[in-house]
Each structure stands twice: as structure tokens, then as C-alpha cells.
Symmetry: C2
Subunit: 335 residues, 2 copies
Amino acid sequence: MTIGEIARRARVSRSTVSYALSGKRPVSEATRLRIQRVIDEMGYQPNASARALARGETRTLGLVFPPASTHYTDMQLDFIGGLVDAAAVRDYDVLMSPGGAEDRTFHRLIGERRVDGAILMEIRLQDARVDRMRATGFPFVTIGRTAQPDGTSWVDLDHGRLVQHCVQHLAQLGHRRLALVNRSEELIRAGYESARRGQDGFERALAEHELTGRSYQCGDDAASGEACVERILSDDPGVTGIVTLNEAALGGLYRGLGTAGREIPRDMSVTGIVGSRWAEAVTPALTAADVPSREMGRIAIDLLLERIGPSAAPLRHRLLTPPISLRASTGPAAP
Amino acid sequence: MTIGEIARRARVSRSTVSYALSGKRPVSEATRLRIQRVIDEMGYQPNASARALARGETRTLGLVFPPASTHYTDMQLDFIGGLVDAAAVRDYDVLMSPGGAEDRTFHRLIGERRVDGAILMEIRLQDARVDRMRATGFPFVTIGRTAQPDGTSWVDLDHGRLVQHCVQHLAQLGHRRLALVNRSEELIRAGYESARRGQDGFERALAEHELTGRSYQCGDDAASGEACVERILSDDPGVTGIVTLNEAALGGLYRGLGTAGREIPRDMSVTGIVGSRWAEAVTPALTAADVPSREMGRIAIDLLLERIGPSAAPLRHRLLTPPISLRASTGPAAP
DNA sequence: TTGAAAGCGGTACCAC
DNA sequence: GTGGTACCGCTTTCAA
């Protein structure tokens, strides 16, 4: 079923059908109705590829994220959900593209103009994908910000400040010896921004509150979390407060503490930056800064559409600092 | 940068450039090299929309899933990850489309021919989307199967059998009074197939082993899990075994049991069908049939590409029955 | 108010 | 081995 077919049956030209559909030119009520009848009868819908070619826009947005070496985290996945839903509301589809800057699929997305704009996840402080995108002038938004965040649109959590808040919370409860459970060594070495900025925030906060503490790298799974607790306690059995950036290791962290005979929050306070689903799944429920993943997805879409549209983009970025939700995993330090 | 531009610079016709790229017609080594040089210089990549229009295929697959009323479960999201990765390996992109049969985005995907084929998630026993797809003759694969599974391609977990295995496992440990923690009331009422077939399997298994038991509907979150435990124990304090289909409520289930003073597995054995990430996150780790979400994604892609390609599709469906991974949450019933 | 026709950027058939 | 050209299906300018 093509527009030509519709035109023939409605005894008008193809252009008239097109205009009847788009409304970009007045069409007499009589012919409009006649055309609409035929369209409904035939169940016609314009071909997206043809339209994209003619209009020069695809009404599709790209989501670029690194291939999952192991698993995606809940945060990432909720974020994707929020993003896709938000795009759908605005009549955009989302094309998923695993792959880094050198990747085939990345080339496909941008180079072949499969999408009108892109969202980049899992940003590193130095990020080749961002550099490439800037060079091409292609509209894009990042989740997370590079070391030079000006000149790009982004939405990000203020991991530095959030970790500081967590430390502050523990400090106010009287804890003096802390540990930070960060993401995996590879991610940190790769310059993964949330891990790096979280770590910086931890160190700053320790200095500020005159506390002692140490950072640990930890894989994104329960077993790593368990192992991490062992390291923490063997390095310094006097630790009474843990801040975690590692959602997927949380269950293991709890188990490790249980195995070591440390009860939460009596013997050990735990807090961190974690999606609410995980925070509420563990017992005792985790006092944490809840990651507003879905909202971040929505914001990313808004920022991107701003840059795609004809209007100048007034707001370029959003730095979020969600409050700490008090649950049950932190308590006063033993005197 | 268009193919015409490349042709001009390489002093050949557009068709020659096209053939040099596709290899569908021999091109002399000399001109091939000349063309390639220009292409590399200019960084040319063919426009996807134009190519899709000319070839009549988009090299894009659609993923249709209901909009997240609340959250996606881990299973769903891991599944998406596996699917996207598998598609990328085969040089396909994946277009995400939240929305049911009546939805705008569903129309867009199929009607506008944005994709060459589609994968439908969250299948119901009677599913309007499946009916529509079959009517259009559009290639598609479902995750989960309808009440009449013949004539469609699908990949599914054998929830009925898996629940039976879980019950059997508990029966062998001497448990006589069981409870099934299913998904939410809405989902079950909507005819959500895994929930329905799981429930059927539970009832069959109870009869087979001459056990008593009861099914519970439970929302996809920790709080619902906690509430569900209360209901179970107030209905029958003698229950010593729980089978759960509800991944997202698992943490709450554990907490509820803890609150009720039931220790796992001493006072209560728990098992079910759950992704390994969740199974390993809880303490004690859950003995469960691990949902192979990522692999299911891969299989779905394979099945779909089979149906899209020119070759006849030999295999139409895959019913998976992963083994129960023994962990730490089940034990013998008290004598 | 409507129609004809020239694009959009490729592909592939028909010639030579 | 290569060039010319008619498509693919839709949008939009130009003309009537």
C-alpha cells in the first residue's frame, strides 16, 4: 500500500494525499474526507524509510551503551526504561546500539544517519565517543559528564556530593572509620566518571570531617561484594561505616557482614547510592541516595529533543542530587 | 556526502560505486581501489534510509513490550540486553517500542515498516498483539507462548514444569504444606502466561505429590513480598515451603520471614524461578531455577532472523527448562 | 484548491 | 568492466 495507490483510488494526485495527511496545505473538506475514507479502508500508513529519506529526519533516537560484559545494572536498565517511555510519549522511537567509539554499530547509528540524535551512557572522564560526536556536530546528550563538561548537554548525578552526604550522615552518627565500596577495577581504570567522582567526593569528605577511610574496588556481583567485606574488615577491623556505589554487590556486602558476625546497623552502618528497588530489597533496608533512573531517562530525552529541534537550547545540563532516604541500615556508632 | 559525490570524485558512475561497495558485480581492482580511497578520504557511509527504501529492508528489528507501569523486572531487562547484543553481532539494530496492540508506537513499528521483524515480550494466553501480527503476516517471535502456541515462533520457559520441579524438590525434602508466590493480581487476571502456567504447574504438582498448598498473588516489589508472607503464615502457620515466581518481591519475602521469626532454611525452605543475580543477592542464597534471560534474548533473535531470511524456518520454537541450582535456601522439613 | 514533477540517496537492471 | 537510468515511496516546489 503506497501513497500512489491511495491517490488513484481517491482520484486525486499523490501530493494532495500527502497534504491531506500533513495539513501543510489546505485541502477542501470534500476531498479530505474522500481521501481519509480510502486510507481507513485500506489501512494505509506511510512508509517510514521513504518519509525519512524525503524529510531528512528519522524520528528515531539512538541510545549508545557499551556492550554488557557481564550484566547491566538495575540503574542502567531502569534508565533505559524511562528513556524509552519518554521518547514514545513524544512520538520518537529508540534505537539501541551497544558499542564504543570504534564499533560498527556506533558507525551505523551516526554515520548512516539512522537516528536524529543520540544519548550516550556510561560516560568516562575522557571519552572517545564524546570526542567523535562533537567532531561530527551530531546532536547528542550524555548521561554523566566528561572531565570537560562544558559544550555538551548532559544529565548526571552529582556523585561527588552524594558520597559527601553519605559520609556526612555517617560522621554525624559518630562513625570515624569508613570504607567506600566502589565499582570494579576495570571501570575505575577506564575513567568511569561516576566511580571517579564518587571516589573524589569520598576523599574530600574524609578530610573535611577528619575521618579515616579507604576505598575498595568491587565487581558488580554478590560474590565480589562478599569478598570485599572480607578485605575491608581484615584491613581495618575498626571500620563501622560503609558507603557503597555498587548496587549489584549490595546483597553480597550484606551477606559478608553477616558472615563476619557484624549486625547492621548495630555493628556496622551501611549507606550509599543505590536504586530504590535494591535499597528496599535488602534487610535491613538501605539508607541511601536513591538513583532516579527513570527520571534521568526522561530528562535526557528532553535535553536531546531541545537540541534537535529548531529552537535554540536554553538549558544545557542537569546535575541531580537526590536526598538520602532514611531507612534502616545506619545507626549511631558504638561509644 | 552521497554516493553521487563519491562517484564524481572517483570519476566513475554511481552504480560502479554501489557495486564496488556491495561486491555484487565484479569491479576492476584499479577502480575499486580508487573508489575506496575517495570513500576513506571523505568518510563516506551510505544513508540508511535511502538504502532501506531501495532494498526494501531496514536491517532493524523491533522489540515490543508493555510500557513499564512501575518498573521492569531484572529478567525482562537482562533479556533485552541479551537480545540487543545478539542482534548487534548479526548487524541488526533493535528498535524499542513500548506499547500494546492499540498503541501508536506499535502501529508505527509494523505499519510504517520501520523494522523487518519484531519480538513480542510479556505474552498473554490470549494476546491481541499476537493476533494482529499473525493477521498482517509480519515476521515475529514471541517470548512466551499463547494458549495456541502452534503457528507462531516462540521461545519460552516451561514455567509449569519448572514449578513442578520446585515442588518436587521440596516434597523430597519432606515438606507437606506449601505456598506459591505468584506475580500480581493484574498480571494474572490479564492472562499473563508465565504466571498462569506456573500456577497450573503448582496445582498439578500438589496433586501429584499429595501435598497441600495455596497460591498467592504478589506485587513486584519488596513491600508486597513482605505482606505476602504475612498472609501465607496467617492462612496456614504450618507452611514450611515456598515457591516463588516473583523475582522483585524476593527481598521482601526474606524480610517478612525474618520478621516472623522463621529462619531459612531451618524453619522455611524457599525456592522458585528467579534470575541468578537475585538468587545470589539474598542471604541465604536462593535455590532456584535460574532464568537464562540473556540466552533467551539470543534465541529470540535467531528464531526471528530465521523467519526473515529467504530460507524456510525449520525450527519454530524453543521451550527451556533450566535445572534448579542448589544454593542454600532449602533444607529438610522438621520431623 | 489541485496536479505535475523534481528531488531525497541508494540499488539493480539493461546496455554497451 | 562500466555507464545510464528507472525505480523504491514520500515531500515539496512550481504552475495552473
